[in-house]
Amino acid sequence: MTDAADRLLSVAPSPAFWVAVVAYTAATAALLAVLGGHARLRPLALALVGAACLAHGADIGWRGTQDVHPAQSVREALGFLSFIVTAGYLLASTRYRLTLGGAAVMPVSLVLLVVARLTPAGAAPEDLTVLGRIHISLATVGVSVFALASALSVIYLAEERALRRKRFDALAFKDRGAPLEALDRLSHRLIWVGFPIFTVALGLGAAWMARRGESLDRPEYPLAAVTWIFYAALLVARQVYGWRGRRAARLTLAGFAAALLVLAIYLVRRMAG
C-alpha cells in the first residue's frame, strides 16, 4: 500500500463493509417506500436493516482481526457508534412502528460508517493506554445511547407538531407512527442508561488527560462537559419538576448536538493529522 493510501485508509474496507453500504441504502429506500404507502414492504425494509446491521457488525469484527478496534480512535468509534444506533433501532422496531425514525436513522448510520471507513486515518495515536481505550469505548457507547434517544426525540417532536397542528395524515403519521407517550418514555429510559456510562467516560477521560499531562484548554473538553450538563439537567428536571414531552425532547437534542460537536472536533483534528 502506498503512503497516501495508507494515510487514507488504515485498513482496506472489508467486503462486509460494501454489503453494509448496499443494505443501508436499500433499507433507506424501502423505509421511504413504506412511508409512501407501500406498507407491504415493511418486512423487507426491516430485513434490510437487519442485513445492514449484520454486515456492519461483521465489518467491525473483521477489523478486529486486523488489530483495528472500536476504541482505537474517534474514527473507529464513529463506525461503532453507528452500529449501536442501527442495532438499537432494530431492537426498538420489534416493539414500536418507527418507520419515520428508520428513514432518518439509516442514512445517518450509513454516512457515519462511510466517514469512519473512507476518511483519512491520520497519525496513529500515541500512548493509547488501557485507560484511554476504556474512556473511548465508554464515551462511544454513551453517545450512541444518546443518539438513539435523540432519534426518538426527533420522531416525538415531528408527531407532536403534526398532532398539535391537526395534520393527522402528516409524514410523521404515515405508516401509523409510534405513540407519543411511548417515545417519551423510551427516550427517557435511554438517557438513564447512557448518562452514567457517559459520566464514567468523562471521569476516565479527565484522568487519562491528567496522566498524559495535557491541559484541558481544548474546545472539546468544555463541550463534553456541556453535553453532560444538558443530560444531567434533563434528568433532574424530569425527576424534580416533571419535565417531559416537548421540553425533554428539545433538551435531549441540545445535549446530543454538543456531543456531536465534540466528535466532529476530534475527527477533524485526527484527519488533519
Binding site: 408527531e159 391537526k166 417531559r244
Partner: protein, 460 residues
C-alpha cells in the same frame, strides 16, 4: 335450473320510516324462513334484517320465479299490501344476486363504506337459516364464498382502514398519544349522547377508569351506571382533570368550562403528563388556548369530523378496487354454478359407463373361471371384453349421430369432436389407411357398426 335470488329493501331505496315497517325481530326470523320455504316456491332461504336493510337471499324451486311471491310474503308478514312497498323493494337473480350478496358482505353496499358490522350480521343470519333448516347447498356455498370475499376485500384494499365515525376517531387520536389505553383514566364531562358513545369506545379499547361529572349529579349517576363508570361531584372538576388521561367533554354550557386559567393550574399539577381533550360540545367546552400547554392535545368536533371525512374519502377510493374484486369473485361463483348444472349429467354418464364395464367384466370373469385357458385364449377373451365394452359405450352415441336430422348432424359431430378431442380424417387420407406398422385394429365390430346400419343395443 335453480338460481339464486335476492329480494329486499335497503337504505338506498327507502328511508328508515319505511325500512322499520318491514324489519324482523331476531326471534321472528326462523319462523318466517320456515314459512317461506313451506309456502312459496323457495327451496333455500336466508333473511337478514338490520337497521339498514331487510333482505331475503334464496334459491327458487326448479322452474319457478320466487321473487314475486317473496315480495308479497314480506309485505304480508308485516301486515302491508304488496303494492305499498312495491316501489322500494328490489330483486336480483343469478349473477346479479351473487354480486349483491358479495357486495353486502364486503360492506360495499353499506351506508358507511367498509363498516365491519354487516359481516357479523350476515353470519348471524346464516346461523339462523342453518338452525331453521332453510339453508341448502347452493345458498350455503354462496354465503361461505361471500365471507371469503369480504375477508379478501378487507385484506387487499383500504376499504376498512381509518375510523369512520366520531367516537372511533376519538379513540384513534387518544391512541396516537398513549398507544395502549389499558389502565388509562377517562373523564367524561357532561352527559351528552356523543360523549357516552365515545366513552364506551374508549372503555372497549381498554380504558379502565371512567369518571363522570356533570352539573346535575343525577344525570352523572345515570350515565355512570350506563357505562360502568363512577360519578363524581362537579365541584371536583379541577382535581379530576389532574388525574385524567383522556377528557371527553360535551356539556350544554354556553361558556367554555375548560379554560386557559384552569389548565394553567392543572398542567402544572399534572407535571406535564400527556392529556387528550376531546371536545364534542357545540358551543365548545374547551378554550382552544389550552392546547398551547405542554402535553395537552385538544380536538374539537370539527377536527374529528375532518378525520372521518378524510377516511371515508379514502374508503371511497378503495371501493373501486373492492368492486373489481367482487366482480371477479362473482364471475368465479357464476362459473361454479354453471358447472353444478352439468354435475348430474356427468354423474349419470360415469354410472352408465361403470355399469356397462362391470357387467362385461363379470361375464368375462365367469367365462375364465369355468375352464382353463391357455395364455393365448386368455388374451383373446380380454381383447373381446375390451371390444365389447367399447362397442356398447359407443353404440348409443353412434346411433344418435347417424340418425340425427340433417340440420343437427353437423353440430352433433362437432360436439363429439370437442368432447373427445377428435380430428376426423378425410376418407382416403393417409391416416385412414391403417399402414403396415400400425397395430391391428382390435375393434372390427365397431368398424362394422360405423359402416353398416346400426343394430339395436339389446342385440349386442
Amino acid at each position: 335450473m335453480t338460481e339464486l335470488f335476492v329480494v329486499g329493501i335497503s337504505w338506498r331505496t327507502a328511508p328508515v320510516a319505511v325500512r322499520e315497517k318491514l324489519a324482523f325481530r331476531d326471534e321472528e326470523l326462523a319462523g318466517a324462513l320456515q314459512a317461506m320455504t313451506a309456502e312459496l316456491p323457495v327451496a333455500e332461504a336466508l333473511l337478514v334484517s338490520t337497521c339498514n336493510r331487510v333482505e331475503v337471499y334464496g334459491v327458487g324451486k326448479s322452474g319457478a320465479d320466487p321473487t314475486g311471491p317473496v315480495r308479497t310474503f314480506l309485505a304480508a308478514q308485516r301486515g302491508l299490501a304488496a303494492a305499498d312497498v312495491a316501489d322500494v323493494l328490489y330483486d336480483h337473480r343469478g349473477t346479479a344476486a351473487v354480486r349483491h350478496v358479495f357486495s353486502v358482505a364486503s360492506a360495499l353496499d353499506s351506508l358507511v363504506l367498509g363498516e365491519a358490522q354487516i359481516l357479523g350480521q350476515l353470519k348471524a343470519a346464516y346461523g339462523v337459516a342453518n338452525a331453521a333448516g332453510t339453508s341448502g347447498p347452493l345458498l350455503g356455498r354462496c354465503l361461505e364464498r361471500a365471507f371469503g370475499v369480504a375477508k379478501r376485500v378487507r385484506t387487499e384494499t383500504a376499504i376498512a382502514r381509518g375510523a369512520a365515525n366520531v367516537s372511533t376517531v376519538a379513540v384513534d387520536l387518544a391512541k396516537r398519544v398513549f398507544g395502549n389505553l389499558s389502565g388509562k383514566s377517562v373523564l367524561v364531562v357532561g352527559a351528552g349522547k356523543m360523549s357516552t358513545l365515545a366513552a364506551r369506545h374508549l372503555h372497549a379499547s381498554g380504558a379502565q377508569h371512567i369518571i363522570v361529572t356533570n352539573r346535575s349529579p343525577e344525570k352523572a349517576e345515570a350515565l355512570a351506571a350506563e357505562i360502568d363508570g363512577i360519578a363524581r361531584p362537579w365541584a371536583d372538576l379541577e382535581r379530576l382533570l389532574v388525574d385524567a388521561d383522556v377528557v371527553i367533554s360535551s356539556t350544554g354550557a354556553r361558556e367554555p368550562i375548560l379554560t386557559r386559567a384552569l389548565f394553567k393550574r392543572v398542567t402544572k399539577a399534572r407535571r406535564w403528563r400527556q392529556l387528550v381533550v376531546i371536545d364534542i360540545a357545540v358551543p365548545r367546552d374547551a378554550e382552544p388556548a389550552i392546547g398551547e400547554f405542554d402535553g395537552v392535545y385538544v380536538f374539537d368536533i370539527d377536527d374529528l369530523e375532518k378525520v372521518v371525512a378524510a377516511n371515508l374519502a379514502e374508503r371511497a377510493k378503495a371501493a373501486e378496487h373492492a368492486a373489481r374484486i367482487v366482480e371477479h369473485e362473482a364471475g368465479q361463483f357464476e362459473h361454479w354454478m354453471r358447472t353444478q348444472g352439468v354435475v348430474p349429467t356427468i354423474r349419470a354418464l360415469r354410472e352408465r359407463f361403470a355399469r356397462v364395464a362391470d357387467a362385461e367384466l363379470q361375464k368375462t370373469l365367469d367365462q375364465l373361471a369355468r375352464r382353463d385357458h391357455t395364455p393365448a385364449q386368455q388374451r383373446e377373451v380380454i381383447q373381446r371384453l375390451v371390444t365389447l365394452v367399447v362397442n356398447k359405450l359407443l353404440h348409443q352415441p353412434t346411433i344418435a349421430l347417424r340418425e340425427a336430422p340433417p340440420d343437427e348432424a353437423g353440430m352433433r359431430a362437432e360436439i363429439l369432436c370437442q368432447l373427445f378431442d377428435l380430428s376426423p380424417a378425410e376418407p382416403g387420407s393417409a391416416g385412414d389407411q391403417n399402414g403396415g406398422d400400425e397395430p391391428r385394429d382390435p375393434q372390427p365390430a365397431l368398424d362394422r357398426e360405423i359402416a353398416e346400419p346400426a343394430p339395436s343395443e339389446e342385440r349386442q
